[in-house]
């Protein structure tokens, strides 16, 4: 366990640069520039910038990954001309969206129309500030990271509904209402499934949860919770088969019907941001996070940043599963979705909590081994 965190690295970086500058500056300047408050402030900025760029790159890569996978599922090639294998296609699309003008409907409420997508994106980006991505690479030592991440994650329906309401369009409104109903309905099973993990791991801290999985990953014993979590996550991410709020066939484009240009890019980007968060959460909670099983040769897990690489590999594999589901299943209807959510998912989630409790009681599984915090 190294003590370097992303924040400490950026602090050291800023400190070194400012010290170097300060050594050549005359008297009042060099004191001022090595002021600890300034270093801290700049370090936070650098930390944020690195995080933002990494997140954006990852999200765009995720879109590329989905396009390529979906293309093969559909017996076609996806983006392939801009950059190697179309890797830069999404940048091109993004630039196109960025230089389009924002056309606001005349009757739309300006404040809500503009702030909705922005808040939606910012709230989702916040989560990356607290997600641990490798050992020691968590940004702060919060004891309740999981809870905070899920709380911020569930802000989304509010912003979606604000955007939908303020764009003054019947389709947007219906999409927004569906979205709110759906997200609230699936928030409950999502949290209940998480509770199963928390019971076993004994902590709300994601780093701790990952370390509790060093003997075996939770997906095996907590398979039911995994199923519930993935299904609820699909609904939270609004992907097929649960993409009713933006069902193209009946609601045009759902709550973002009236958005174009950069604001639409915000929505689009944030959808994939949330997909990335969802996939990372699945990996952290059930698939051992950045750790690998002991039979994996040490050379494969000990190179620099190995934890981040393995976490990302797992994340992309989990996301591929989401894409696979999207490629093969039709969309369900609102009432069916809500009925499944309340009538099926919640009992299953409760059952998974019961199973988790059983697991805690028996402590050790014969084939898998024990959870560290529970002892042998």
């Amino acid at each position: 366990m190294s003590s370097a965190t992303l924040y400490s690295v950026s602090y050291d970086l800023v400190h070194a640069i400012l010290a170097a500058i300060g050594s050549v500056l005359p008297y009042p300047g060099n004191v001022w520039i090595t002021n600890p408050d300034l270093i801290t402030g700049l370090a936070v900025l650098v930390f944020g910038a690195i995080l933002l760029v990494a997140t954006m790159l990852n999200t765009i890569l995720l879109i590329w990954w989905e396009r390529k996978l979906l293309g093969r599922f559909m017996d076609r090639r996806a983006a392939m001309h801009v950059g190697f294998a179309g890797l830069l296609q999404n940048f091109a699309d993004g630039f196109k969206l960025f230089h389009k003008s924002t056309v606001k409907p005349r009757e739309a409420d300006t404040l809500g129309y503009l702030s909705g997508p922005t808040a939606y994106m910012v709230a989702s980006l916040l989560i990356f500030g607290i997600l641990p991505i490798s050992s020691g690479w968590n940004s702060g030592a919060l004891p309740l990271t999981l809870l905070l991440a899920l709380a911020v994650f569930s802000f989304a329906p509010l912003f979606i509904f604000v955007s939908a309401w303020s764009s003054n369009n019947k389709y947007s409104l219906m999409g927004g209402m569906r979205s709110a109903a759906q997200m609230i309905a699936y928030e409950v099973p999502l949290l209940l499934a998480v509770v199963a993990v928390v019971i076993v791991a004994g902590s709300f801290d994601l780093t701790t949860i990952v370390y509790e999985q060093q003997n075996y990953w939770f997906w095996g014993p907590l398979f039911l919770a995994l199923i519930v979590f993935v299904a609820a996550m699909l609904a939270e991410m609004e992907r097929i088969p649960f993409d009713l709020p933006e069902a193209e066939a009946e609601l045009v484009e759902g709550w973002n019907t009236e958005y174009g240009g950069m604001l639409f890019a915000f929505f689009m980007f944030t959808d994939y941001l949330r997909a990335l968060i969802g996939s990372i959460l699945v990996v952290l909670l059930f698939l051992g996070g950045w750790t690998m099983p002991s039979w994996v040769p040490a050379a494969a897990t000990s190179f620099p940043l190995a934890g981040i690489v393995w976490l990302m590999v797992k994340t992309y594999i989990v996301f591929a599963l989401f894409v696979w589901v999207r490629a093969s299943l039709p969309r369900v209807r609102t009432d069916q979705l809500l009925r499944v959510g309340w009538n099926r998912m919640i009992p299953l989630a409760l059952l998974s909590i019961f199973l988790a409790a059983v697991l805690v009681t028996v402590r050790c599984l014969p084939a898998f081994g024990c959870i560290p915090s529970l002892g042998t």
Binding site: L70, F73, M74, D75, R76, K170, Y171, M174, I240, P241, D243, L244, A247, E248, A249, E250, L251, V252, R326, A327, S328, L329, P330, R331, V332, R333, T334, D335, Q336
Partner: protein, 381 residues
């Protein structure tokens, strides 16, 4: 939310064409609907009155852009009756082949559009891919992929190119294997049944009263198929079964159309065998001069030669991919038809929209309208 009218169309992903479905909703429940047509009305019936019989064929391709050959067939049968011309037998078989390939193409196109309506994007591409094979076949003998201009009064434009029948059989084998794949993606999925069972129910009595025909009627248990009931061209000489279902819902229509595609393949195999065995002329021997294509229809200075050609009325009714299509052509002895009346099955099927939409939810509109197989080109004409 209280009751409100929303306009689904003319630019809406559900419409599959240029039309407007005005829906009155109470929350998510449909209270009333009012379809509006006419966005694609090009006056084909009027333009036909100003064109020579063979030139009207170019308009018929544009009538329904996914079933051009079926409409050519409809028009040609009626105008041959009006002009008292008998096509050779090989031409009749070729026309049956055209119509069945067109049915395959149209139904696959319908499948592609329908699965998107229920949110299934993958089979859309499968359907497009497989329809392209049918279009390739069309291109190889008509020369075009969408606007074929293949049939002529008195026969067809040209015979099949060498090697066509073998290639067509390969395509049919490929398609038959793909149909099973389609079924696995749709019928094999629980969500599909959740979405489509007991949806958009239109019972047989309502179908007949509102003039609904085609797969919608057959899915309600009425096995009316003009190819069987009132055989035209060479349909009395091929074997096939009429597809049918009892459920009268969206799933029933899906089953009927998939079964029809399989029956089309069955018909096509027989027709291809026949065509292999029986070479012959594809154009009638006795044609009025101005009907043969390679002639000047009029003299250079607008010099028109009026012949005392027998007058007549031609009526044809065929089982187009969407249902019962009819043409009524009045020949008053001139080069141009006096009146061409076309009846589109989609026109009647849309007109009954209130019967099968009211009471369902907004989310059900795309699958229901998708199962109707709307083609606005032919309903507006």
């Amino acid at each position: 939310m209280s009751e409100m009218w929303i306009n689904m169309g003319p630019q809406h992903p559900m419409t599959h064409g240029l039309w407007n479905l005005r829906v009155k909703i109470d929350g998510e429940v449909i209270v009333d609907v009012d379809p509006e047509l006419g966005y694609l009305h090009r006056g084909i019936e009027k333009i036909s009155e100003d064109r020579h019989y063979n030139e009207v064929v170019t308009l018929m391709d544009r009538t329904c852009y996914v079933a051009g050959l079926a409409w050519e067939h409809l028009y040609i049968i009626a105008s041959e009756k009006a002009l008292h011309i008998e096509p050779p037998e090989r031409a009749e078989y070729l026309r049956v082949m055209c119509e069945e390939f067109q049915r395959l193409g149209s139904h696959i196109m319908w499948f592609s559009a329908f699965v998107v309506d229920i949110g299934l994007l993958t089979p859309l591409l499968y359907g497009m891919r497989d329809r392209d094979l049918v279009l390739d076949l069309f291109q190889s003998y008509t020369g075009a992929r969408m606007t074929y201009e293949y049939m002529r009064v008195g026969g067809v434009r040209n015979d099949l190119p060498p090697g066509f029948t073998d290639r067509a059989r390969t395509v049919l084998d490929w398609l038959m294997a793909r149909f099973d794949e389609y079924d696995k993606l749709t019928l094999g999925s629980d969500i599909f049944h959740k979405r489509c069972d007991n949806l958009g129910i239109l019972k047989a009595n309502d179908c007949i009263a509102h003039g609904v025909t085609g797969p919608m009627l057959r899915s309600a248990g009425v096995k009316r198929d003009l190819r069987k009931d009132r055989p035209y061209a060479a349909y009395d000489r091929v074997e096939f079964d009429v597809a049918g279902a009892d459920s009268a819902d969206v799933t029933g229509r899906y089953l009927v159309r998939m079964e029809e595609m399989r029956q089309s393949v069955r018909i096509l195999r027989q027709v291809l065998d026949w065509l292999d065995r029986n070479p012959g002329p594809v154009m009638a021997r006795e044609l009025p001069r101005w009907l043969g294509a390679p002639y000047a229809p009029v003299g250079r200075e607008g010099y028109l030669l009026k012949r005392n050609y027998p007058k007549g009325v031609g009526f044809s009714s065929i089982e187009e991919p969407h249902g019962e299509a009819q043409a009524y052509i009045v020949n008053e002895g001139g080069e141009h038809p006096y009146r061409v009346k076309l009846k589109s099955p989609v026109f009647s099927n849309i007109s009954a929209a209130r019967q099968y939409l009211v009471g369902y939810r907004v989310a059900d509109i795309p699958p229901i309208m998708g199962s109707v197989d709307v083609c606005i080109g032919e309903s507006d004409r």
